[in-house]
């Protein structure tokens, strides 16, 4: 190990426990909770294997009154949950890591869609996060009762084998709702002065400490600044004062900033936040606490980690996303393999799955995240190849480069071919958009790994800047298997999800209409007045609007879908909207285009036809005609309408399937955007998946994965049965 990183590997005591190093996976959701114990145990223990000294659950509900359905939390409501979570603590302990549980009561932020219970809070209000969900104002009995929920949950947590027990008060969950005047309007002993507002939290800590403090370290997660000025908590005021009050009751502080309604200021997307972006607030805590302080900030660079600890800003490096993108980050630092780190790109696609509510977490960089248990994928270890087949991968974008990388890891002879001079494909364009430079780490990781791997096999080759392969070239290439990863392109004729047909007059060959690719290539001049026609729900239109407005164009976005809808899920939405305001970008919502000409486009309100449906016979619309059409002027029209796969090569080979055998070709497969346009995360997954399953009878189609479902006939609640029984 490089001695300059030694600081990061120094053990540190937290209460009755010792953390073996300074790498600490803070609580983060994965979609496992307590109901998918295999997923939970495998995902967390993978990080323990990769060297993280501390590992946590996601937020863990202490009672059915805190039910976040459809978002997936862990739960520690009963013995069944204890049993399931114990699978995780046992696995993590095998690697000598400490394991923590983040005891959570949400108040009205948890809408209780499954449990149908009513959340309680310090006062009555509607959640600023789940705006349809209200809480009941607690009376003194309620306070005692809810505090007892924490204690009971802490006891169950101890039994489940947890070393660290949290009272979770970040992201404006219950303890912080008491502390913050934004929520707490009480006039009794639990409201008003800081001491009163802190009382609920302090008492809860005291009770939990009394119950399990000799066996477990007591942690609290505290958002030390709500980033809303006087309305909430400000670090130099209530923030530091609360830390002083609670310091004797906690063994370790886990500090961050922000509230759940805008938690993108905590889990900062790289579009807006650099590494260590919370330090300006976090650094105050060590000034008043005698206890170890840990904090997050997308810490991926060991130099920065050392600097932060040396400067006395934090004692322990907390990480969610860096640990998802690279579960082996600590070991790679320890082994001097810093260039092998799969650096988190800060896209927040991991978070999007939690925000959507339900689906398991995925990661753009690490295709194995979430697949540890169900597909048996280890991020650093690979099944050796099962044949001597040679494989040609056409296209070195996210999907093709990942496929080639994994095939090479498995020992296959691989040729990766691309016309471009650089690995990365579409990512090279995307990373040139404003604020998305760090997305280039996706390419960099694969580039570094491929360049290392190709040296291990004399017959493997990375052919960049290569002559485009045609069908004959592929048939005669001499590969046993061919993987086509030729990507996708933006539609040039206005075709979109909204009409599934070209728009009359739209044609990207015209000098005043451009696709995103043409903007990237800089192949056409862009006029002063830009109109972006958008039917894409993610970042392309907002990013191009940002880019062009910054370059001095007057930008309007006419959109037929919710502009940047997916950016709500990646937590980029609030700040991109603020940026739009700053740049005077105008949004024309709920419109689509009927036709376009040089200099103008005709838009109509998508809800402009009649609201009543009526059967009017064949050839007649069931609604009255839409008469909302209006012309809008532009100098350049930008077409972000939809995407289509680049499939001509695949189709050409498929047409000549009869010649495959005589050319010794066993199969030709399609992955990534070439199969269907998709997120970079999913394209990467495609490439990874087919590389892991290349020797299956037809690797085009995935093998079934192991599912974790509640199985009929097995019950875990005391006295429960699997028989159907009615209360009559």
């Amino acid at each position: 190990m490089d001695s300059k990183y030694a600081t990061l590997f120094e053990p540190i005591k937290i209460g009755p426990k010792t953390l073996k190093n300074r790498f600490y996976q803070v609580p983060h959701c994965i979609g496992a909770g307590s109901d998918k114990p295999g997923f939970q145990a495998a995902h967390r223990s993978m990080k323990a294997e990769g060297g993280w000294g501390g590992i946590n659950t996601e937020y863990c509900s202490i009672h059915p009154e805190s039910d976040d359905t459809n978002r997936v939390s862990a739960r520690i409501w009963d013995e069944g949950d204890v049993r399931n979570l114990k699978a995780m603590t046992d696995e993590v302990h095998k690697y000598g890591a400490l394991v923590g549980v983040e005891l959570w009561y949400g108040g009205p932020h948890a809408p209780c869609l499954e449990s149908r219970q009513t959340p309680r809070g310090p006062s009555q209000y509607a959640s600023d996060f789940e705006t349809q969900s209200y809480c009941k104002e607690m009376d003194l009995d309620d306070i005692k009762m809810v505090q007892q929920f924490y204690v009971d949950a802490a006891l169950r947590a101890r039994d489940a084998g947890f070393d660290i027990v949290y009272v979770y008060g970040a992201h404006a969950y219950l303890p912080l709702q008491f502390l913050s005047p934004f929520y707490n309007k009480r006039t009794d002993g639990y409201g008003g002065s800081l001491e009163n507002r802190a009382r609920f939290w302090l008492e809860t800590l005291e009770k939990v400490r009394g119950a399990v403090g000799s066996d477990c370290a007591i942690a609290t997660r505290f958002a030390v600044d709500s980033l809303s000025g006087q309305e909430g908590i400000q670090v130099e005021d209530d923030g530091m004062r609360f830390v002083e009050l609670a310091d004797p009751l906690v063994d370790v502080w886990d500090v961050n900033v922000g509230v759940i309604a805008e938690w993108g200021e905590d889990a900062g997307p790289s579009r807006f936040h650099r590494m260590g972006h919370q330090l300006p607030w976090q650094r105050f805590i060590k000034l008043v606490s005698k206890k170890p302080v840990l904090g997050v900030g997308r810490f991926t660079d060991p130099e920065k980690m050392v600097e932060v600890i040396r400067a006395g800003q934090l004692d322990i490096i907390g990480a969610a996303r860096p640990s998802i993108a690279d579960p082996f980050l600590p070991n790679k630092i320890k082994e001097g393999r810093v260039d092998d780190i799969r650096t988190c790109i800060g896209c927040n696609v991991c978070i999007s799955r939690w925000e959507i509510g339900g689906p398991p977490m995925v990661c753009t960089q690490n295709a194995t995240a979430g697949e540890e248990y169900r597909r048996g994928w280890h991020p650093e270890k690979f099944e050796p190849k099962k044949s001597d087949d040679t494989i040609l991968v056409v296209g070195a974008g996210p999907s093709g480069s990942e496929c080639a990388r994994v095939l090479m890891e498995r020992g296959y002879t691989v040729h990766l071919v691309d016309q471009a001079d650089k690995i990365g494909g579409y990512v090279n364009n995307v990373a040139s958009l404003p604020g998305l430079g760090e997305w280039g780490y996706h390419r960099d990781y694969r580039e570094t790994q491929l360049n290392k791997l190709v040296k291990k096999n004399r017959d493997s080759q990375i052919a960049l800047g290569a002559k485009p392969l045609d069908v004959d070239g592929i048939l005669g290439y001499g590969a046993d298997k061919v993987v086509i990863a030729t990507g996708a392109h933006w539609n040039r004729d206005g075709n979109s999800a909204l009409t599934h047909a070209p728009i009359p007059g739209i044609n990207a060959d015209l000098p005043y209409m451009v696709t995103p690719e043409q903007i990237f290539a800089g192949s056409k001049p862009i006029g002063k007045r830009v109109l972006i026609l958008n039917a894409d729900p993610y970042y392309m239109a907002p990013s191009l609007a940002h880019k062009l407005a910054e370059a001095g164009h007057e930008v309007k976005v006419a959109t037929g879908v919710d502009l940047g809808r997916y950016m709500h899920f990646t937590l980029e939405y609030p700040n991109i909207r603020r940026l739009f305001n700053e740049l005077n970008i105008e949004i024309i919502s709920d419109v689509w285009a009927s036709r376009a000409e040089e200099g103008r486009i005709e838009l109509y309100d998508v809800w402009g036809d009649g609201h009543k449906i009526q059967f009017n016979g064949v050839g007649q619309s069931p609604r009255t005609e839409n008469r909302t059409h209006k012309w809008h002027e532009f100098d350049t029209l930008v077409l972000v309408t939809g995407r289509s796969s680049n499939v001509s090569l695949f189709r050409g080979i498929k047409e000549r399937q009869s010649e495959w055998a005589s050319n010794d070709i066993k199969g030709v497969y399609l992955i990534g955007d070439a199969l269907a346009p998709k997120l970079i995360a999913d394209a990467t997954f495609d490439g990874h998946r087919i590389a892991r399953e290349i020797e299956e009878a037809n690797p085009q189609y995935p093998q079934p994965y192991r599912r974790e479902v509640a199985v009929w006939g097995v019950a875990h609640m005391p006295g429960a049965t699997s028989e159907i029984r009615y209360r009559l």
Partner: protein, 264 residues
């Protein structure tokens, strides 16, 4: 017409490497071998001539080296050509570029080649001598650092271009037999296909000894070489400094350094 293309496996050093105890070479554990970059271009030149004059031009890659050098020859054969030549026995070890050129010149004669296309230089040693020495030994005309080339089968002449300083180009006509050294960028070397790589494994590499070529051992190795490596070492590096502190502190330090360098 037969073209002989001498190629070389060059040493690629690991990021961290050590000089051997003898102080004259690099620890072989820190070295990987790769085909010299220039040779990709000379071999591509030969392949293009062979394709353009199908049936009348034959190209043969050759190398002077031990068994491990076969890799480089097979890399060439994966792109085209039918056979290759490797020259070696223990007496060759320690040869300087001139001694190596003796073997190449002898091979050119034995093969009855009319054209030798060498790389301008090798990435590891960068002598830039071998090709020119071959021409001198054969008594053939030579043109160095060739950036374009045209061959007319009818009159057996080559028209070649060289880039000179300041954007000036020189065009030269040479009669065969001749030796050219080829510059990077003369063409876009092709990539081998998997089929080519598989086929290359079954193509012949003729192993010849210096005796087979009529070169006596006193013309080779350290005894046959005029140049000898006396010392290999890593020059002292000027030191780098990480400037830390607040921006004003950093600026202060920066100004100090600039002044130090200016001698102020």
């Amino acid at each position: 017409m037969k073209i002989l293309v001498p190629v070389k496996q060059v040493e690629i050093l690991d990021e961290d490497f050590d000089v051997q105890d003898d102080g004259r070479s690099i620890d072989p554990d820190c070295i990987e071998f790769e085909l010299n970059e220039w040779d990709d271009y000379s071999w591509e030149t030969a392949l293009q001539l062979m394709e353009k004059h199908e049936g009348t031009v034959e190209a043969v890659p050759m190398t002077v080296g031990d068994e491990s050098a076969d890799d480089g020859l097979r890399k060439c054969l994966a792109k085209g050509g039918e056979r290759a030549i490797r020259v070696w026995d223990d007496s060759v070890a320690g040869s300087d570029p001139i001694a190596i050129a003796r073997l190449i010149a002898a091979a050119a004669k034995k093969e009855d080649a009319q054209l030798v296309l060498a790389g301008t230089q090798s990435t590891d040693q960068a002598h830039g001598q071998t090709g020119i020495a071959v021409a001198a030994l054969l008594g053939w005309p030579h043109v160095a650092v060739v950036s374009a080339l045209d061959y007319s089968a009818a009159d057996g002449k080559l028209t070649v271009r060289r880039e000179l300083e300041g954007g000036v180009e020189e065009e030269i006509e040479v009669a065969l037999p001749a030796v050219l050294t080829i510059q990077l960028g003369i063409n876009e070397p092709r990539y081998a296909s998997l089929r080519g790589i598989k086929q290359a494994k079954t193509k012949t590499v003729d192993l010849l000894s210096p005796a087979d070529l009529g070169v006596s051992t006193d013309q080779l190795g350290e005894t046959g070489s005029a140049a000898r490596v006396r010392r290999m070492y890593i020059p002292e590096r000027s030191k780098a400094e990480l400037i830390t502190g607040t921006p004003p502190e950093q600026v202060k330090r920066l100004i100090e350094i600039v002044n130090e360098l200016k001698g102020a």
